[in-house]
């Protein structure tokens, strides 16, 4: 395994668990148990059943005819936007709530930026009748009001993160502090392939269902299970990890990771971690992150709250460093334009995160017979206000 995790919890130089001793018992408990639990037949059965009947999987692999025609290549959209709650995030929260139950936990905490992971967590907590506390930056609470309301309707308590930049990174800090303060009965459902080992690997495995389905769906449609390209946006990197997972070691499949350039990579208002980041430690993981020369973590910016994170997961840091994946950055404007184009050509309103992935078609030329699979990670309902303001609709 060159690109996946090794048995010490690292992807090449990246990963590990750089955590205070206060977190050690919880993280160690998870590390010792996660693979064992995931392999139990009863776990697999319950996980698959819920993905099918509750989430609505398999999500379609849709051949986007008009988009393909416009860019003169074969584009398939992996429709994670059609999942219950509207994004890929639910694949992970279903997995983790079952894990939490198996570990005997009673109380669930989570962080959220855009609110998608918060909603997905609140949803599974309602489903299982478990207490749910979601940390969300004060600024994000203001700009993602509908998702805050959803979480409340689903019975979650939304706690504002008031420290630092009051966005996703600070919400993550607050969730980690909560876990330190509640070391016995609480499970922390992290929303992406970030955090200390084993989180990146566990979340990637729960999201791996995405590429597992792509394999057989492509086989049905194209007579082969491997595409030429897989494109996904990267915030922390979970939808990308899921879409890449079964293709990681097959270098005939080109992986394209799309980061948010915000107002431009060098504008000072960006979240393009691979372009701007250096190796360091964020949220318990050694990875690439945006930071000052002095090692202080800097504030990212993106129009898309789900990509507004100063790091990437350790898998992606490794894919970047080894050149296994090609990293592209896309500005706010390019993403918004690509999002609107999908509405007009295919009748699908994408999440602004996913619109970043779509903007690759304006950047890069593919061959007419290339098979390109794009992870359409979420739907745009949550982003209507942003689209309306941007295009003065």
């Amino acid at each position: 395994m060159k690109y996946n995790i090794n048995n010490k919890g690292y992807y090449g130089d990246f990963g590990g668990a750089y955590i205070p001793e206060m977190l050690y018992p919880n993280v160690e408990e998870l590390r010792l148990n996660y693979l064992k639990v995931m392999q139990e037949p009863s776990f697999k059965e319950e996980f698959n059943q819920l993905l099918k009947d509750y989430v609505g999987r398999p999500s379609p692999l849709y051949f986007a005819k008009r988009l393909s025609k416009k860019y003169n290549t074969k584009i398939y959209l992996k429709r994670e936007d059609l999942n219950h709650t509207g994004a890929h995030k639910i694949n992970n929260t279903i997995g983790q709530i079952l894990m939490a139950q198996r570990l005997g936990k009673k109380r669930i905490i989570a962080e959220t930026g855009a609110g998608q992971h918060g909603v997905a967590t609140a949803t599974v907590c309602a489903l299982m009748g478990m207490e749910c506390i979601v940390y969300m930056g004060e600024i994000d609470i203001a700009r993602q009001a509908p998702n805050v309301a959803r979480m409340k309707m689903l019975g979650a308590k939304v706690v504002p993160a008031l420290s630092g930049s009051k966005t996703l990174k600070d919400a993550t800090n607050e969730a980690i502090r909560d876990w330190i303060n509640n070391p016995v009965d609480t499970h922390y459902i992290i929303g992406s392939v970030v955090g200390p080992h084993p989180y990146p690997d566990m979340v990637a495995r729960f999201q791996a269902v995405v590429s597992e389905e792509i394999q057989w769906q492509l086989q049905e449609k194209e007579g082969k299970s491997t595409p030429d390209y897989v494109i996904a946006c990267v915030g922390g990197g979970s939808n990308a990890a899921g879409a890449y997972y079964h293709y990681l070691e097959n270098t005939n499949v080109n992986l394209i990771a799309v980061e948010a350039a915000g107002k431009g990579v060098n504008s000072g208002k960006s979240a393009a971690t691979s372009a701007l980041g250096k190796e360091g430690i964020i949220h318990g993981s050694k990875t690439l992150l945006m930071q000052t020369n002095d090692g202080q973590i800097t504030e990212p910016y993106s129009i898309s709250a789900g990509l507004d994170y100063p790091g990437v997961g350790p898998m992606h840091a490794h894919l970047f460093k080894t050149g296994r994946a090609e990293f592209v950055s896309v500005t706010d404007d390019q993403a918004m334009t690509a999002g609107l184009e999908l509405c007009e050509l295919e009748g699908i309103i994408p999440a602004i995160e996913s619109s970043h992935a779509l903007a690759v078609f304006g950047h890069k030329t593919f061959k007419p017979d290339d098979i390109v699979v794009l992870s359409l990670s979420g739907r745009g309902d949550k982003d209507l206000d942003t689209y309306i303001n941007h295009f003065k609709l």
Partner: protein, 254 residues
């Protein structure tokens, strides 16, 4: 001998104080240290501020944020401390998160600490196993004692392991919490203090987190060699400034 080891040999309970360097004002660092020594404090933890201090509660978070706004950086701190050994002789420990140290370069950081006369480091998010494998030799080369934390949840096995690789003291986190949280110690905590005292570890223990006054200081040092005060001292600095440090220390040590 390292000043920490020497201090630990003294036949008294030790008061150690934590503060965030660069708070309340950027240039307060040296005068805070000198005043603490003058007022009977045994050991000082100088906090190198970090943007994302995971293990800290609101008081230390806010002081770190303010310190960074004031312009504190690793280089600024090293500069402020360059002559500290001309005036101060008690043990000085730098406490900070691992990322700023990593960016400075771990070896360069350790060397600088030795040059200045820093005696030890506390890095909450540098895990014991990573330290042991990758950094122990470097720390030792520069004569630095690395201090590890244990909590009420730390297993006996792990405590014994931590004891075996420590060569100064063990930082006993009083309860499962971030800094600055609890008010007073209950039965669960005193039981934990007793349990650890009864293990007769090779390294003495110093208790931190939730020590705020003479009452909690006495409770903690009944079982341990010393205690560390952080948030309560920072609150005092915030309201009284750096000139009235004796008001704080005299209340603790009375």
């Amino acid at each position: 001998m390292n000043r920490i080891n020497q201090k630990l040999k003294e036949n008294k309970k030790l008061l150690s104080i934590y503060f965030s360097a660069g708070f309340p004002k950027l240039d307060d660092t040296v005068s805070i240290i000198e005043n603490l020594e003058k007022n009977g404090v045994d050991m000082i933890e100088i906090g190198l501020p970090f943007s994302d201090p995971l293990a800290d509660g609101p008081t230390i978070q806010a002081s770190s944020t303010q310190a960074l706004k004031n312009g504190m950086t690793t280089n600024v701190l090293f500069n402020q401390l360059k002559d500290i050994r001309k005036t101060v002789s008690i043990p000085l420990i730098l406490m900070g998160y691992f990322n700023p140290m990593l960016q400075y370069g771990v070896e360069a950081f350790c060397k600088k600490c030795q040059d200045i006369g820093i005696d030890g480091l506390i890095i909450p998010d540098l895990p014991v196993d990573v330290y042991n494998e990758k950094y122990k030799a470097i720390f030792e080369k520069y004569g630095l004692i690395n201090v590890f934390l244990i909590t009420p949840q730390t297993s006996v096995e792990r405590i014994n392991f931590i004891d075996s690789i420590s060569n100064g003291f063990i930082y006993m986190v009083s309860s499962a919490s971030v800094t600055g949280s609890s008010s007073g110690f209950g039965e669960a905590q005193t039981n934990y203090f007793k349990r650890i005292a009864d293990m007769n570890l090779k390294n003495p223990q110093i208790i931190g987190f939730g020590i705020s006054d003479s009452e909690t200081f006495k409770q903690a040092t009944k079982y341990a060699k010393g205690a560390i005060i952080g948030s309560a001292f920072i609150k005092h600095l915030k309201s009284e400034g750096v000139t009235k440090i004796n008001n704080f220390t005299s209340l603790i040590l009375r």
